[in-house]
Symmetry: C2
Subunit: 396 residues, 2 copies
């Protein structure tokens, strides 16, 4: 056991947990939290990322540095693992198909990613399955936007078909005079676009759905998401809405993920309108910010269930362990180092769980961590999570 | 961001979370679970271990390979971190003092470790603080054992003062004829020994106590521990005993850790006798197997609270999130690889959480992982944890 008794050597070599080896395309906070769940189950993780200093790096057996849109890099990852999954939907589905071509399972499949990563084909798939979505039209010019408005009315939401997130890639057009500005904002014809009718929602709801490769499906509690500046600010579980809304939202979310042939954990964002109608806003073909509360809030987190689903293992219970759980995102206040201040003060709030993602740099609005608090009531959990989050600051 | 678009490079370099850097002497499962908690809080961990392939290696920023009884190796660790802690009590306290001598905080302190790692001085400290412990005597020969038996009666427990765990280093002497065998088993004079009166306990209870360097103290629910072959088999939280026993055990545990000037999370093992008396059996100056259930079972785990305590951060809530939590250890059935079978079957049990420690090798009786299940009742949690644990096998 003992090497030389007088020296110390340093190692960066990594230990194998011995279980299935999982490749993750992307190494951000979603990969990090997935890797933490994998770690507990004795699975190994290999990450493919563009840069070295990423949140999941410390948990990966090793990290491959490469461009995830390059099929050769994806194949290199695939060769080192038993199964591949993703932490974002921006990897080109045609590139991802290279993983399946060399015989490695990819979940979600390149077919599902292809449908979902193009918001127009995603909406088409949902509509074809008979699910309620806002009306939409592909548009390729300012004139086509104006024509669509005649049918869909004002305001109108102009969206890029690909690579939009957190409000980036969207423009709300109030009237005909807004078309030129929105057209410019979204690339003036350089990106494929579509328009969607304005949905006068009263609440935004969401649910994580986990679908196994063996056909099982599980749905997490329906939550309310509260956005600030188009970025998820707070998630409240369970959503404070009537029981019939919960059951309809829960069914809608499951049907939506089934409609795109999803495997693994998916985030489903929905709008609730004043007249009680539910529509699907958007699907995320991956673990999702609206499900971070499940780490402490539910028996089995969205991350662990994602792994169970893609490995064909039994799905875990999605029930809440306490009556309420609330998550608040920690966004960078400004550019600066990734190390937060105020964590000690946040930890003084009973029941507050602080998650720091370990990003090297903060930027204004960047997701740097989150806080989850459980409570005996929604009000208690909101109070705890809110007070804790207000103590923490990134980018001072 | 993008390196060459056609190549992939591999890195084992590790990312800093930016928070305080914590050195852990030892890299087993206790260090691993502590490192997981550190990771979430944005702290970094550096491990000192004798071998490279250890459970905590994957989570450490890096691992120093060296002999932890060598003061030079301990100082090398200390220089690389802000604070040092330990995952076992077998590191010689005189060596540990070298860490404090170079100005690095060590928690628990070398003074506390010195008292606790010698079971005789530990008992003396507890007795001096007025706490109930079984009567004991130092012995240095078979004749002294026989003499002690005249006072303490039969059976008599012969114990090594140092380096005993899981029943190793103990011998129960039924009568005078058993002295020779016990004396041989415990080194025939090569180890320092003491004897202790037999305690006719009806239950073994335990509690984790976390004491902060800032003076705060927190105690976890009192649990019942069930041993098999001197190794912890099952932990039941809360212990199914009367409320007055719980409150006395809780106070006794806190007083015991205070008596040795403990800092951080400590395990306190107690005996409950038929006449309702409580005595301290043993202290562990570290996170403890009887507190693994706190990962899912309590708002803040013993691991996170250990970190909070030694960093002087506020302590987290020790309350259970559900009415009951039960942990069952997963021991190696035989020598073999460290990869378990049956994990999928265990995960089919609702509410079962499987922890695999990632050890490279299984041995008969070696702690390879554990299962925790929460429940609405103790009976439900016992049933779930037991069924899940029976599905998993190491060392086939």
């Amino acid at each position: 056991m003992n090497p030389s008794p007088t020296t110390v050597t340093t190692t960066a070599r990594q230990l194998s947990g011995g279980g299935p080896r999982i490749g993750i395309v992307g190494g951000g906070q979603l990969a990090r939290m997935t890797a933490l769940a994998a770690f507990e189950l004795g699975c190994d993780v290999v990450v493919l990322e563009r840069a070295e200093q990423v949140p999941a790096a410390n948990l990966a057996v090793h990290t491959l540095i490469g461009d995830w849109d390059n099929p050769a890099a994806l194949v290199e990852l695939a060769k080192q693992v038993d199964i591949v999954t993703l932490e974002n939907e921006f990897v080109d589905a045609r590139s991802l198909a290279a993983i399946e071509a060399v015989g490695r399972p990819l979940h979600p499949t390149s077919r599902t990613i292809g449908i979902v990563q193009d918001k127009l084909t995603q909406k088409q798939a949902l509509a074809e399955a008979g699910l309620e979505v806002p009306r939409f039209r592909a548009v390729a010019s300012p004139e086509e936007i104006a024509a669509a408005a005649k049918e869909l009315g004002w305001p109108l939401v102009l969206k890029a078909r690909r690579n939009g997130y957190d409000g980036k890639g969207n423009a709300t057009l109030r009237d005909e005079a807004g078309i030129a500005g929105g057209w410019q904002k979204l690339g003036a014809g350089s990106r494929e676009l579509f328009v969607e009718e304005w949905c006068p929602f009263t609440r935004e709801l969401a649910a994580i759905v986990t679908r196994s490769i063996n056909g099982d499906s599980a749905v997490y509690p329906v939550v309310e998401t509260v956005q600030r500046d188009h970025i998820c600010h707070r998630v409240i579980a369970p959503a404070p809405v009537a029981a019939d809304v919960v059951s309809r939202a829960s069914e809608l979310a499951q049907a939506a993920v089934a409609a795109v042939g999803g495997t693994g954990s998916f985030g489903v964002e929905m709008f609730l309108t004043a007249d009680g109608k539910l529509v699907v806003n958007e699907l995320a073909p991956r673990v999702h910010n609206s499900g971070h509360y499940t780490i402490e809030g539910c028996h089995c987190s969205q991350f662990e269930n994602h792994l169970r689903a893609i490995l064909g293992w039994p799905l875990g219970s999605t029930e809440l362990v306490m009556p309420a759980a609330v998550m608040v995102n920690l966004l960078g206040a400004a550019a600066g180092p990734g190390r937060p201040t105020g964590v000690e003060k946040a930890l003084a709030i009973p029941g507050a769980h602080v998650h720091v993602y370990g990003k090297t740099r903060s930027n204004a609005g960047r997701k740097m961590g989150h806080v989850t608090a459980l409570g005996r009531t929604v009000a208690e959990a909101i109070d705890r999570a809110g007070r804790a989050a207000r103590e923490i600051r990134f980018g001072n």
